[in-house]
Symmetry: C2
Subunit: 585 residues, 2 copies
Amino acid sequence: MHHGIGFIQDLAVVMAFAAAVTVLFHRLKQPVVLGYIAAGVIIGPYTPPFQLIHDEQSIQTLGELGVMFLMFSLGLEFSLRKLFKVGATAIVAALSEIVLMVWIGYEIGSAFGWSQMDALFLGAILAISSTTIIVKALSDLGLKRERFAQLVFGILIVEDILGIAMLVLLTGIAQTGQLSAGLAVITLGKLLLFMTVSLLVGILVVPRALNYVARTGSDEMLLVSVLGFCFGFCLLVVKLDYSIALGAFLIGAIMAESRHLHRIEHLIAPLRDAFSAIFFVTIGLLLNPAVLLDYAWPIAVITLAVIIGKLVSCGLGTFLSGQDARTSMRVGMTVSQIGEFSFIIASLGLTLKVTSAFLYPVAVAVSVLTTLFTPYLIRAADPLTRRLSNAMPATFANVFGMYGQWLRSLRTASGEPTLFGMTRRIILQIAVNLALVAAIFLGVSYGAPSAGKLLAQWLNAEAMQRAVLWSAALIVSMPFLVAVYRKTKSLALLLAEVSVQPATAGRFTSAIRYAISDLVPIVSMVGVFLLVAALSGSILPPTGLLIAVLVCAALLLALLWRWCVKIHASMQIALRETFEEQADP
Amino acid sequence: MHHGIGFIQDLAVVMAFAAAVTVLFHRLKQPVVLGYIAAGVIIGPYTPPFQLIHDEQSIQTLGELGVMFLMFSLGLEFSLRKLFKVGATAIVAALSEIVLMVWIGYEIGSAFGWSQMDALFLGAILAISSTTIIVKALSDLGLKRERFAQLVFGILIVEDILGIAMLVLLTGIAQTGQLSAGLAVITLGKLLLFMTVSLLVGILVVPRALNYVARTGSDEMLLVSVLGFCFGFCLLVVKLDYSIALGAFLIGAIMAESRHLHRIEHLIAPLRDAFSAIFFVTIGLLLNPAVLLDYAWPIAVITLAVIIGKLVSCGLGTFLSGQDARTSMRVGMTVSQIGEFSFIIASLGLTLKVTSAFLYPVAVAVSVLTTLFTPYLIRAADPLTRRLSNAMPATFANVFGMYGQWLRSLRTASGEPTLFGMTRRIILQIAVNLALVAAIFLGVSYGAPSAGKLLAQWLNAEAMQRAVLWSAALIVSMPFLVAVYRKTKSLALLLAEVSVQPATAGRFTSAIRYAISDLVPIVSMVGVFLLVAALSGSILPPTGLLIAVLVCAALLLALLWRWCVKIHASMQIALRETFEEQADP
């Protein structure tokens, strides 16, 4: 046990300095996170007295685990239910914030003559606010339960999702050097498909498994199971070329639907705190104070741009979606900083070797400055609103007031909620089932090369191998195909009912209605078949075999129709149960 | 973030298998620890289908952190107060167990023709029972609150301390190839000195610092501070050539005196569980099932030896220290297994490259078997006692009964508890203060080479450097030297009072008493000076300078006498306060 002294020394240095500096920062009433970063700078290679860390690579690896635990905790706090509640406002505000900030960042980077990739990454770095800092600041100020705080949390959730999409897009752009619209759509489509399917399958499987383990009453087994799922899912995600951050966030969101959410949060908190401390210290380790002096001017400009840009974009977005001026101002002031996500994006740039070395310290410096200002900005929101409304000309104020009223009147008058709601719901269900079918065929195609090798022991002809794989995918997706057919049929019936009125169709009314409700599903299923064939191109058997497979499938379907309906229904019920179950206090 | 996939994969494999197998083992009502080991065997390199771990070295390093957290938790549960309560019985039982088991192990190893070092390590491996397994088994059987369980926990605490001494001794033997009595005494003396001083200084400093941090109410900062102290102290211990296990145990025992013990235990539990899971999995990774078949015969013999040997040694030790037959049998049956400490000793042998490769798997196999038997043995204790007492001849039973009575009568009649108690207490205080003085001089000698370099900037002559260092040590140890002098004086007074009776000394009584109480301390201080001179050989200045330093010191002492007395008193009060403070619930 005498080897690995260097590792113990590194951990001792990191933890001891982190503890001492954060306690000092706490006395100075500054956020803990800044203390970690400062500790990292002190023990880092760029500051005297000397290099205290032996094996920076090991510490970086542990820091990456810190990112994983941070994103996992974010996921645990994410809740589909909460998202549905604040919905519209959060989406409008987050979208306008991200679009504007990416643009501002890109323009500033270009104005300073930085490379296109640096400018693009700067935009991404500025886009997303820091959940950690905001939660800390709001609870310090005692504002966590206010209405605007709920809105801010909604915005942060949407930002997290969009941020993850951004990570995926940036990786794509960095690897291909460009962003074609088609590629972006395909990339985001694949991401959406992956997220939907993982959430669905995950929520069906993981909370049940954890409930089973939790019933033993052993915290140890529950923790190890949670970690097993977490690392396992992250591994799957990494193998599919997405980031660990995405995997950790998704599996966290899946576990957020477990009944034992609070126990899991308790067990994970120490691991998250320990490893995220290491992560924030590694940020300080990478920070070269000399670079900060060289880039003092850009840092000042960017800091100002973050504060004003976020206030305007997010505040205006909130206001445009129908909130009053005071709430909008408070929301805008609260999100006026960048944090952990920015570090993740900045280190992505470094890892992919597409950004310059100065971008990382600049991002850290801007984050530190904006973090320092956050509590003061939040407190300044109300006075600023009052001063603005006093200074505003009366006609202006009237127009703003009328806009709010019009928006609210619009919302109550958005007629026929029943038909509209029903249609939306059926379409959503069809989309979800189609996503599952697509995922099954894509998954089988993905695994085809290795499955083919296995099959080669019994089947020589490649065409036969394909036929077997394709049939397997077809059988597995049968319950979902049946569901798609049935939902399409009820949608067609509903639409026929509404659109074909006796007044115009006369005595053919019911005939036409029946024709529509029979025809539409069949046409749709042909479309579904074409879609599936396109997705599973690499394992689609030749025409002859394909027809044989389809005929067999049709026979099987006739036999198993009722079983398919039943299994789909029970899955749907299980999903709904998991969703509607409240977490134990 | 796309590098380090191998590391994530390793963690995913370890955690997922650990979770699955332990849940299965829990269903089969077997201990979790066995599940971890089984998971390790499955994913290990010796079993099909294939090697699942990429970078065994990284996983081993994390496993070492698991040992650290395990020993740290043991330390947190260790309590000087609890130890004082069960005192005598625990010490007698643990000592007889360890001595007998080391001897049995050594004899078995020699009988199988193994090398001397293998036989010795086997003895050490068999010596110490598994706290984890025992706590688990007793709480499963609902016996944790019984009186014999308290005794068992006391025995385990003593075993932990003796086990750590054994680790140190084994390291010494392995490095020098032999055990000379003198070396053993010096090694154990140094260990005792180091433990006493760290406990004293640690209990004065660490709980106070943690209380300060805990008052912020932030679990995150408390955790990081705990980890900072833990890793920092382990680093110090490793630099002094002791093991991380010792360091973690000691710092745990120090923190056990903190008022926030329960909060600390809560925060550390997930880290301990996660990393110790990795540790136990790495034990399985190292296990080659083929070796187990080759060594089936020794494994069977050793398993039987562990069960019978521990039952006899520990049970008899308990009985001889005055417990009744039923309690003794229960204690003996409970400790009849080996566990985590055995793995630590076995891996020490591997690390030091003095034991053969087969010893580790043999130790694991014996641990697995004895762990499996533990719950059945505990339950068999009472029936066995009854059968034995029925089968025992009446005269035998009478002798046993009389032994117990005689022991109990002895205890109440062990006259003059006041004088005896007072003497013992003063001697203890003198010993503690002497230990501190010795530690100060040893510490300064240890740091002399680097301090000398620093001093060389101002002082060229080596003799002067020594004089400065020696004076510094003398000044720092002054309060403790004064305390030694004063305690010796009061001891001498006390003894003079008792031994010199007016009946024999007549009218010289008070004169002789005064002479003794003045003479003894002065003679003792000369002895202390010789001791210090011997310990600080490398920094002892030449005679001329030494006399000068001593004269200066005497002058300083005359000036600062009262201050020395005061500072020592306040340290003593602070220590007592920390001890007497109860942990928050």
